[in-house]
């Protein structure tokens, strides 16, 4: 993936003799209608309903369509579904869908496919993550091939958001029934703007434009996704010109690479929060310790040190601009206050409060570094934290067994921006995301899940977020930043939720 095409790499080092003359001339001919993207991870599976993986959404969106879509500002907009309406009691969602959509095999998409995706598959016991959201559907009616009515067992205010969120991609009923799930995985078929032509696990996906696409036709004919897991390898790939765009490279590399003629670096704040998930027991049973830990973290310094200042420091677990964000509220960085709080509980620099902290290493940019910086900040006020590295995949298992330590450095992605999927998910003791099992806050969250009135619901979540921060149940840190470096003459739309979609890309 390196050293072959030297286009776009006119920096000082490029003047050096190329010892592979045969290779350097092998610049691909038709770059103008194709793009090669260096992507950090493969899809967990080509069954888009199977696993909730934020990083895979951009890949799924090329091949499959969602009932609803989001624009770059994250507003919910029509896609396969043209009109929708949630009943006042939040228990019924009805709507109409397009009648001009065909799958890649030429078959027509109808409401039967919608029902198959969100109801039949789940009832049939397919092992899909979408089951956890849509098992609330009690009946799914399809009055005509272009309309549907869903009934829920309880008010489901965020159901429209979920139709444009993780895992909600419509898969073809007839095809999947004919070939089975394994057959589908062997040859996945969607209705999206691109078709898969070649797929090599953990290596490469090659896609070609769906000439029969119902929506706006992509300008690029061919898209190659190179799976490059190692951040420094992604850096090397864009620097050598082997790929046209990479995402999730270290922030300092964005600055460095952006200065190379022919390349542009970009930092996009996205709907992903970085926070500390807290327990309500062990060393964190004491509110003073929790608040001391929270006040001792210099979020501005973290942002400067690891995100070139581009990551917004957060006081509530929601991103600026999302409905649940509390704009006029700040939680202070005050190490002196931390010391006082700790002193109240009998801790000091000589007799520090001891606790454990878990972190991922490589799950999001600089995660491990941030964790180590926080440990150091705590040390200065009298909190002695022992750091352990856990794998992202193990978080839920540990949490379920109540084996997480007092705090875990965590990242949570919420492309919808809805506060239920921020504070609600992060603090609901019944959900696997929340390490906090205290019922004082917990009951309030559980109640909010069934509020049908939207204004009341949002207001409730704002109050809840503040309360959680002020009692040390949640320690929000930063709004995450998506980094990307691309060739200057390639344009793309930066989505507020981190999507990078080749259907919006164009060479100038």
């Amino acid at each position: 993936m390196g050293g072959i095409s030297r286009r776009g790499m006119l920096g000082g080092a490029a003047a050096i003799v190329a010892p592979w003359p045969g290779l350097t001339s092998a610049v691909r001919a038709d770059t103008r209608d194709s793009v090669t993207i260096g992507w950090p991870s493969d899809v967990p599976s080509w069954d888009p309903n199977e696993r909730f993986t934020p990083d895979a959404q951009s890949l799924f969106k090329m091949v499959y369509d969602q009932p609803l879509d989001q624009d770059a500002q994250l507003k919910l907009v029509p896609k396969l579904i043209t009109k929708w309406e949630l009943a006042a009691d939040g228990r019924t969602l009805s709507g109409e869908m397009r009648d001009d959509v065909t799958f890649h095999d030429g078959s027509k998409m109808t409401s039967a496919d919608l029902k198959w995706t969100f109801f039949d598959r789940i009832k049939a016991g397919h092992k899909v993550d979408t089951a956890n959201v849509w098992k609330r559907v009690t009946t799914f009616d399809t009055p005509t091939p272009a309309s549907f009515v869903m009934h829920f067992d309880s008010p489901f205010a965020t159901s429209p958001n979920w139709l444009g969120f993780l895992g909600s991609y419509v898969v073809p009923k007839d095809y999947m029934e004919k070939v089975g799930v394994d057959g589908f995985l062997a040859k996945p078929i969607g209705s999206g703007p691109f078709k898969i032509v070649d797929y090599q696990l953990n290596t490469r996906v090659v896609l070609e434009r769906n000439e029969a696409y119902w929506g706006p036709k992509p300008r690029l004919r061919r898209v190659v996704i190179e799976i490059i897991k190692d951040p420094s390898a992604r850096v090397a790939a864009i620097q050598s010109g082997a790929v046209d765009l990479v995402v999730n490279v270290p922030v300092r590399e964005v600055t460095r690479l952006g200065a190379i003629p022919g390349l542009t670096g970009q930092l996009t704040p996205i709907t992903r929060v970085i926070l500390l998930q807290c327990r309500n027991d062990l060393g964190f049973a004491d509110e003073n310790v929790r608040l001391a830990a929270s006040h001792a973290i210099d979020k501005v310094a973290l942002s400067k040190a690891f995100y070139a200042g581009a990551a917004v420091p957060l006081s509530v677990p929601a991103t600026p601009g999302s409905p649940g964000f509390v704009a006029d509220y700040t939680f202070a960085y005050d190490p002196e206050l931390s010391k006082q709080l700790l002193a109240k509980s009998g801790f000091s620099l000589d007799k520090p409060a001891k606790l454990k902290m878990a972190t991922f290493n490589g799950q999001f940019p600089s995660d491990y570094d941030i964790a180590r910086a926080i440990v150091q900040m705590w040390k200065k006020v009298g909190i002695d934290a022992e750091l352990e590295v856990v794998e992202y995949a193990k978080y839920f298992e540990l949490n379920r067994g109540a084996k997480l330590p007092e705090v875990t450095l965590y990242t949570f992605d919420n492309a919808t921006g809805d506060p239920e999927i921020y504070s609600g998910y992060l603090l609901n003791p019944k959900l696997p995301f929340s390490a906090w099992k205290g019922m004082d806050i917990g009951q309030k969250v559980i109640d909010l899940f069934t509020v049908a009135d939207n204004a009341k619901r949002i207001a409730g979540y704002r109050d809840l977020a503040k309360e959680a921060v002020e009692t040390g149940a949640s320690i929000p840190l930063l709004q995450s930043v998506q980094t990307s470096v691309r060739k200057k003459d390639l344009s793309y739309t930066a989505f507020g939720n981190g999507w990078v979609l080749p259907q919006d890309m164009e060479w100038s």
Binding site: I16, P44, N132, A237, P432
Partner: protein
Amino acid sequence: MLLILARRALTAVPILFVVSLMLFVALRVLPVDPAAMSMPPSATLAEIDAMRSQMGLDRPLLEQYGIWLNQAAHGDFGQSLHLRRPVLRLVADTLPATIELAVAAMLVASALGVGGGLALFALRGRRAELAAESATTVLMSVPEFLWALLFIFVFGVLLQALPFTGRLDASLPRPDITGFLLLDAVLVGRVDVLWSALAHLVLPAAALGLAFAPPIVRVLRSSLLDVYHDDYIRQARLRGLSEGRILCRHALKNAALPMLTLMGVQFGFLFGGSLLVEVIYSYPGLGNLMVDAVRNADLPIIQMVGLTYCVLVLAINTLVDGLYVVLNPKLRRR
């Protein structure tokens, strides 16, 4: 010859059996719950319990092993917990890359080893010998992962002369016939693919090969020295044979045996070393699969990859033993 190979292969079977049992037990004792790992985050405890009994995890360990062995005998080595794909498929997809890398590295190691050994032998008795010998000791101190990092730094970053990620340039189509990229490139007749694949192989193979060359240098030199003590070399000299002829016809032939034995052993270990080199060069082989699996606690993959490495080592040992017999006339006659 075939008989000997078959006999050796048979002795490998019980070893493999014991290894698989040990791997199985060791991995089951780990504080990881494969049932919980294979379920979505929001699964309830009851659902996980159901999964556990469905996977047979609540049965005695030996019974579980029996089930696994039975399935393995039918070609079913389980599913990856994380990737939800058959483990056998994953290994089959990545193994050719690793073999390609290891063979290339072994070629590098052999070329450097034989060249270095002869050079060192030619220096015998001279003043430079001590310096050259110490140099090999020092070179022996550089493990493959340090070479790998050093090469990235020098050839990838400073000189930007060679690619250092993956197996093939992104713009080229990957022919997928045998999985051995160099071979596939030749089969489809794509010179550009072959070139690119070779360029990608240079740094990792050199890093790995360089780390395994010094022992070959030293064994070749010391066996040459041993051989030259023998009478028949003196006789050859008396018969008036030239030094070059003596070296090629007699000495090398006899010194080759211990070297080949060593190279066989080395080749097995080289597969272990390839793991790190693969990680450093983002090379999509068995090593990367293994490290990912370790990070995700994906037990079925760890187990299968562990076994695969084991099979590779045993297969190489068997082959080397066979080669040994072929090359050693004394053993062949017996």
